[in-house]
């Protein structure tokens, strides 16, 4: 089948490791550490102190500006307010709660099963108060994305591509809760009033497609677009191109081409916020990889440590090599298992030592494969070659790179392309700042 964006490739999917196991909804962590920064923007200030008793869903941090609140994901006692390890690799101020296992609910947020009478401002306020951020990884506050798209878009896209290998969180979500995701899309449709509402999914998730189609049962307010599987189709720019044929101009937002894209799991969070009055306290996390004994998906409380999650999945094998937050193509390798899940965490990936890794002395043979796979139409070999020359880096549009990893994946010389290009981008940023 013809692919709908330039470049890309087919890394080994490995989704079968976790896609057939039951979703574990019973798992309860002993403690959670709720990071005060789980989104792009300003951090939250803690609203509780050590010794406070908190309920599940209680707001425990909030802030001003581009900021949404964070909530207790369990009920129990606050035992610490201190910096804890965050998936970004930094230590971030966190509220640590000892789980009493009772899930005593906080009822501040009001459920609106019938939201037809609510106006746009009210809906946006509910989404903000529930702490909804993009669940795909970048974690941009969803109310702000909706607000900045108001009146500018004609196409609303739910991203259910999940094009990274190994991860099955969105797949499981759509198989278990298709109705809720579609309802979330209808809520955002009410806010943004687009002409076209599309749920984009890759053809490697037939069960989810089937569940969605059955749920729609002939209704046509949401279009299910099944795309031929190809990485990085779930990248925002590539997805918009695949669905609408439009290319976002350099440095612009999706609204510049009249599109808004939210992750499928984000729509689920919107549904929970509006219809159930539930803030973001849990999400599906895939714990997978060759180096974990029983790969599976958890309905996981925000703030659970990787240590506890991995133990619940049977623990690590002897040959563990990397533990990654996110997928194998774009995820972040972690050095400490005390790191906790945040709203954007879709996967804890435990990899065993792979062959085909970095060489001691990588050499470019100019085979051009990186040019053929780059979905941003770049020439990665020249970004590598001119890595110390900001003028040349700009000339080859280094800032357009989305760091999808296709070039490095395909490179026969095993050049550390993404790493070098990322450094090149910071050099260009520094030079521009001077």
């Amino acid at each position: 089948m013809k692919h709908l964006f330039f470049g890309g490739l087919h890394p080994a999917g490995r989704k079968e490791l976790s896609s057939n196991a039951q979703l574990d909804t019973a798992f309860q962590p002993k403690t959670v550490a709720i990071a005060m920064q789980q989104h792009i923007g300003a951090p939250c200030t803690p609203l509780v102190q050590v010794g406070d008793l908190v309920k599940k869903g209680q707001k425990i941090g909030d802030g001003q500006g581009l900021c949404v609140p964070v909530h207790a994901s369990v009920s129990g006692k606050v035992i610490a307010v201190e910096p804890r390890r965050h998936p970004s690799g930094r230590d971030i101020l966190s509220v640590v709660i000892e789980n009493d296992g009772l899930d005593t609910p906080d009822t501040t947020l009001v459920p609106h099963p019938d939201y037809s009478g609510l106006d746009v401002d009210t809906l946006l306020a509910i989404i903000r108060e529930a702490g909804v951020v993009g669940h795909g990884g970048a974690a941009f506050p969803s109310n702000m994305k909706a607000l900045t798209s108001l009146g500018k878009i004609d196409t609303l896209i739910a991203n259910a591509c999940e094009c990274e290998p190994y991860i099955t969180a969105d797949d499981i979500l759509l198989r278990t809760s298709p109705e809720q995701v579609l309802e979330g899309m209808r809520i955002v449709t009410k806010i943004l009033n687009p002409d076209r509402v599309v749920l984009a999914i890759e053809d490697n998730k037939p069960k989810a497609v089937e569940a969605l189609k059955q749920t729609l049962a002939g209704k046509d307010d949401v279009e299910i677009q099944v795309l031929p599987t190809r990485y990085p189709q779930g990248a925002e720019k590539q997805l918009i191109q695949a669905v609408t044929g439009r290319q976002i101009p350099p440095g612009q937002l999706p609204s510049s081409v009249q599109c808004a894209v939210f992750n499928a799991a984000t729509f689920y969070a919107v549904y929970r916020a509006v219809c159930l009055g539930q803030p973001v306290t849990e999400r599906i996390v895939t714990v997978t990889g060759e180096a974990v004994k029983n790969p599976k998906n958890f309905l996981c409380r925000i703030g659970t440590s990787y240590q506890e999650l991995i133990e619940a999945a049977g623990g690590l094998t002897e040959d563990v090599w990397k533990v990654i937050c996110g997928g194998p193509m774009m995820g972040f390798a972690q050095d400490d298992l005390s790191v906790v899940t945040i709203k954007g965490t879709n996967s804890v990936l435990c990899l065993a030592q792979f062959r085909n890794q970095e060489k001691e002395n990588p050499l470019c043979i100019r085979c051009g494969r990186c040019v053929q796979v780059c979905p941003m139409h770049l020439q990665p070999l020249y970004l590598y070659r001119y890595r110390d020359n900001t003028a040349e880096l700009n000339r080859y549009y280094v800032m357009d790179c989305i760091e999808c990893g296709c070039c490095a994946y395909t490179c026969p010389g095993k050049l550390p392309l993404v790493e070098v290009i990322r450094k090149g981008k910071s050099k260009v940023r520094e030079a521009a700042g001077k």
Binding site: A333, L363, H377, A408, K414, E419
Partner: protein, 318 residues
């Protein structure tokens, strides 16, 4: 527990430089085996000498020049084999060895080694050998078969006939199969095309450069035919000399050809046009070597001229 922390991506494809070089060597085998069967065992010895000299020079360069723990990756074998295939089977062994040393040391290593050389090492070496040892380079052995012993008499290749201009005496079928005089690895179009098909199937090369190259030669020789039989002239032009060897194995050399799709097509057209130009107006009957070398010099510039259209620059909304 020791967790590794390094940059994404955390998985890599199976492709490697070594695998690519192995595939090129495999793809050269049909033409090489045909050449040995056709010209006799001496052709095989020339090839072995050429490869051995290339590999030893590469080892020496890695040891004394680069000192950054480079390993043999098979590229020197490719260079040695390619050079031998452009030589007549009668060439003195030391000439082949000299060519290989020049190719690896001067053309490749002095430019920075693998991937850094501006010119195709095998072709640059061939160009030098033609300049220094013209008599050794144009004395083509007559066809005498495996173990047939080397004939002192030299045979005129089909291209020599075409200079007159006249169609060669050999049939088109003999031209296609390779039953003609010529360099060790250039005579059998069939064997070369088999190797080319293997490279395309293994995705080592794309069709862009070979098709653009051969297509340009075909069109130009058809339009500017020198005998009454225009179509025959075109076919003999394609099958005679080293144009198929050049189009499939030389012009597609990664280091010395463009990486952009458009650049590759332009480059192939340039190679084809210069080949015909040199054959028609040059000193020698053949023009492939110099055509590709000149286009080599333009490769990096062509990458700039043909850079992919920037994502999103063609306007956003439909």
């Amino acid at each position: 527990m020791n967790l590794t922390v390094s940059s994404s991506p955390h998985v890599r494809g199976n492709d490697s430089t070594r695998r690519i070089m192995r595939d090129v060597n495999i793809a050269l085998l049909p033409a090489l085996i045909f050449g040995i069967a056709h010209f006799g065992i001496r052709a095989g010895v020339v090839t072995i000498v050429s490869i051995a000299a290339a590999v030893i020079t590469e080892l020496a360069a890695n040891r004394f020049l680069f000192r950054d723990h480079r390993e043999l990756d098979g590229s020197a074998v490719v260079t040695g084999m390619l050079l031998a295939m452009t030589l007549p089977a009668t060439v003195p062994y030391w000439v082949a060895a000299f060519g290989s040393v020049f190719a690896i040391l001067v053309v490749k290593a002095f430019c920075g080694g693998l991937g850094q050389n501006a010119f195709n090492p095998a072709l640059a070496a061939r160009a030098l050998l033609v300049l220094l040892f013209p008599t050794s380079m144009v004395r083509y052995a007559a066809v005498n078969g495996f173990f047939g012993g080397m004939d002192a008499v030299t045979a005129a290749t089909p291209l020599h006939h075409m200079v007159m201009p006249a169609l060669p005496e050999q049939s088109l079928l003999d031209m296609f199969l390779g039953n003609i005089p010529g360099s060790i690895g250039e005579v059998s179009a069939l064997a070369l095309l088999l190797g080319g098909a293997y490279l395309v199937w293994r995705k080592v090369i794309s069709l862009r450069i070979p098709v653009a190259y051969l297509g340009t030669v075909a069109v130009l020789t058809l339009v500017f035919h020198k005998t009454d039989d225009a179509f025959g002239w075109m076919l003999y032009s394609l099958l005679g000399g080293g144009v198929i060897l050049g189009a499939i194995f030389m012009a597609t050399d990664y280091a010395t050809s463009p990486v952009t799709p458009k650049g590759q097509i332009l480059y192939g057209i340039g190679c084809g046009a210069l080949t015909v130009l040199f054959r028609y107006f040059g000193l020698f009957p053949e023009g492939v070597t110099y055509a590709i070398l000149i286009m080599n010099a333009l490769s990096w510039a062509m990458d700039r001229w043909t850079a992919p259209v920037r994502f999103g620059s063609k306007g956003g909304a439909v």
